[in-house]
Symmetry: C2
Subunit: 342 residues, 2 copies
DNA sequence: CTGTTAGCGCATTCAG
DNA sequence: CTGAATGCGCTAACAG
């Protein structure tokens, strides 16, 4: 139903090839100005717009970036982290006049099953939002030769481009903050062990602990999910420990966990930060408004998205070589949820 | 680079047409079971997946829905309303194994300019997130014969399908709540006058006011934007009124405005709800955690998204006729920001 | 300077 | 039951 290039050609009294050249600005193939005029007028009179899929088939860019993520059944509501990253991506994408495809049906654990749809020609490149380390999607994509960049994750492969924060350092700094307040027994409530940020933050936590001569106690490391409910449950478990084994502070793998943990501790009658300090990671919007406000390690999520999108664009235009691993800094934000132990 | 149907055909020793028939389950054109087997095996061995754009060009569905919205430069961060709707949409879309395109470059005021990209063949239908009433996008889409549904807006045209809440009733109910507390002088801080929800809520507000014999005072209606900053500014203006003309309560067009207004009032030394009551609309997540918690009219944003996506799917599959105007109920949520006047 | 031709990968007639 | 031919709308050589 939409007007095709043939109609424009007919109205301008030229061939399709000519229309294509004029409209794509291939001035290289010199075309009489008068003809150019005629074509342009015909096109605009007809309200012509090329079919994206047809030009895609013919081998041109689609000016479309794909965003891949998997979050079970819910998305933004449960992941302010993802929402902020997406926000950053969209800013850059919109400014660059590109479009966006959202792939929500992925199962990270099985790229063989989900990959085809990612490379069936609909987008020029992919942005992967923190896939778990054990997913086979990265090798699959590498093999498919589709440009992509990892966001919120890094990968040792020399051809994988990524944008992430320094999780090890971030976790180390916030743990040091806790130590500097006088805490010696600090728990780590983390996300799923297969996600790389979880192990990296564990590393930073352990580094800080040991640098201070505190013994690393694995029983204080409690894996779960990056969700509020998980924080709630783990904190309850923590509180079941004999009083002399209870930590005086807890570092949570992200703010969602921290907020859940604070809720549980509150329900159990513990006062924060008097009885126990709680620290998070990310600095999502609600960290500032929680009760008490949450001490956390801020991640520039918006920037993460912006930079990742910009890099993918550069990769697609071959302006940049793949393989760069960009690391953004984090920032300690001290609020009301941490204080010296009683 | 990806494997094409020709390769599958070659490997199975049949023609492309046969492969297409087998893989698309056109058992109508009876094909020997042995052949079917051979084709299927060849396809899976080769890891074949059809090119979406090629089959799109050949006239098939792309299994892709487009989501259109325009929010200036920022998106989710500034619009929890939109994020919640998107969440609902994605749930349905993911379950239906469809994909999603996000169109962020639209300028509602000029559909002629932005429309082409929406109908260049990349998606089977469109979801429009509350376009302003005066936008010419609806007539343009109607003319283009592309299935679409309006979310968070309604349109009188008999062929336009939409999903929205009853804004008039919602605004009326919450205004009545304020009146029942004893307020007689109630301001309305609203969003941009061109958005239909703004005028509908104004209607409900006015209905409630007048039903109670209170004189409608246009100077208490303050238009702005659906943003926190706007609420902040308008509330300051409000406070500049001579003490005897100040309202004792303010109904805000959405929660963002309400939160901004509460911040301004707080900064000006007013106590909420003792000195002035504040009510919002939407019930975004932060409404429950604000200080004080916000009384508001809850909108089932998640459902809005789910239903809209389901209807669009039905429209595309021609399971449903266009034109249905679905209206979802709102629910009054009384919290700490409203109380009887001093 | 411009028209013609040949695919891109797939679905779909229409003949056998 | 299966193959060959055609076209979807567009771009990119290649001729003139």
């Amino acid at each position: 139903m939409p007007v095709s290039i043939a109609e424009v050609a007919a109205r301008a009294g030229v061939s399709q090839g000519t229309v294509s050249k004029v409209l794509n600005g291939r001035v290289a193939a010199q075309i009489a100005l008068a003809t150019q005029e005629r074509v342009k007028i015909a096109a605009s009179e007809l309200g012509y717009h090329p079919s994206a899929i047809a030009r895609g088939l013919a081998g041109k860019r689609l000016d479309t970036l794909g965003i891949v993520f998997a979050q079970g059944n819910t998305f933004f509501a449960t992941s302010p982290y993802f929402a902020a990253i997406l926000d950053g991506i969209l800013e850059v994408v919109t400014r660059a006049k590109q479009n966006t495809m959202l792939f929500t049906g992925q199962v990270w654990s099985d790229a063989r099953q989900g990959l085809p749809i990612l490379r069936d020609g609909r987008c020029d490149g992919l942005l992967l939002i923190s896939p778990p380390a054990e997913s086979d999607i990265v090798p699959a994509l590498l093999e498919a030769k589709l440009p992509f960049v990892l966001v919120g994750d890094i990968n040792p492969h020399p051809l994988v481009t990524s944008v992430d924060v320094d999780n090890v350092m971030g976790a180390r700094k916030i743990t040091e903050h806790l130590i500097s307040l006088g805490h010696r027994r600090i728990a780590y409530l983390c996300g799923p062990p297969t996600v790389s940020s979880v192990s990296q933050r564990l590393q930073g936590y352990q580094d800080a602990i040991e640098a201070d001569g505190i013994e690393f106690d694995l029983s204080l490391v409690m894996p779960g999910a990056y969700l509020q409910e998980s924080g709630y449950e783990r904190a309850r478990e923590l509180w079941r420990l004999p009083a002399d084994q209870r930590p005086t502070a807890v570092f949570c793998g992200n703010d969602l966990i921290a907020i859940g943990a604070m809720a549980a501790l509150h329900d159990l009658g513990a006062r924060i930060p008097q009885d126990i300090s709680v620290a998070g990671f990310d600095d999502i919007p609600s960290a500032a408004t929680s009760q008490p406000s949450l001490t956390t390690m801020r991640q520039p999520m918006h920037l993460l998205g912006q930079h990742a999108a910009a890099r993918l664009l550069a990769l697609i235009q071959a302006t940049e070589e793949p393989g760069f691993k960009e690391v953004l800094p984090t920032e300690l934000v001290v609020r009301g949820s941490t204080a010296p132990p009683a």
